[in-house]
Amino acid sequence: MNMLQVSVWRGGADGEYRNYEVPRQESQSVLDVVTYIQRSIDPTLSYRFACRVGMCGACAMTVNGVARWTCRTHVAKVVKGNAIQIAPLANLPVVKDLVTDMREFFDKWARARGQFAPQATRKDAFARVASDSPGRVAANAGIECIGCGVCYASCDVVSWNPDYLGPAALNRAWTLVNDVRDGARRERLAAVAGDAGCHACHTHLSCSERCPKNIAPTASIAGLKRAVALAAWKGEL
């Protein structure tokens, strides 16, 4: 039988790679490989997944050095010879094996004012937002984020400055800046400005290159830079 040589990170931050042999199958995903190891070779392997269909964002890992959503990554696409190396996401603390602590990643969404701030009450009518209005179009471009952390793990600026809010949180802020129903524009722009915010982005585009949902956080961050500059110019920051 054709076997895959799989090298998997085991342990915490000071762990090591361990090798496993996994039968190669047709249409096999990287998540299938990890699941095979846990169910048939070593039940102590820890990893995270939920939906298996690219909706939940739970199964992101580093595959051959690149952050990917493993449930939608075919082995055929990433295998080198017959070898694959699987590690936890970068830029996040390792809990154990392939599981990272995502708290800081999601806390930054809150720090970037990622919460929708409604202005209307339940007595008001539904807001009407034309699907071709500029704000709606801009929000649409970034709204399908599944929070997998691939962009965050791929970002050079996060690795240089651990306080940097990161592509996902800033992308979320940008979708809300373009939401006409939202009432916290000024506070949000103030929250995302500065050394740990949108101005730190170097436009390396790794996030946009690797986002499995084909979102371009770099464009969202550029939008935030313009919006913040305009607000500062008008004295509204």
Partner: protein, 128 residues
């Protein structure tokens, strides 16, 4: 649990120095636009001088008392004094992890020095 939650709950989610950073960004972009033009004019001038075999004396003969040249190089020096220190500040923050207020003073000093030395050079070829 996290400082982020507490910050938001306290209603002070403003990033430190948000306004200051926003203005630095505007200043750097604006000075970059000026520099793009100035560098081009400067390079064309150098290439012209070299290709026509102008001597130092011939160049000085054209710059002495030339108000337009002095105004141009004053603008050029100003753009450099704004642009370079802001970029240097970012480099120090990211590569050296130097993020304290002392960095702003050092960078401001470098800006002043660049402006002073640049003006001195501009004035020298104007008044020589």
């Amino acid at each position: 649990m996290s400082s982020a939650g507490q910050t938001y709950a306290a209603g002070s989610a403003t990033a430190p120095g948000a306004k200051f950073e926003a203005w630095l960004w505007i200043a750097q972009r604006a000075s970059a636009a000026v520099l793009a033009l100035c560098v081009l004019v400067h390079l064309v001038t150098i290439i012209y001088a070299v290709r026509h075999g102008l001597t130092g004396a011939a160049i000085l003969g054209r710059t002495q008392g030339n108000g337009a040249a002095l105004a141009f190089y004053t603008l050029y020096v100003l753009a450099i004094a704004v642009h370079a220190p802001i970029g240097l500040r970012t480099l120090c923050q990211e590569w050296l992890g130097w993020r304290s207020a002392s960095l702003n003073w050092v960078v401001a000093g470098i800006a002043l020095a660049l402006f002073a030395f640049g003006l001195r050079a501009g004035w020298a070829v104007f008044s020589a």
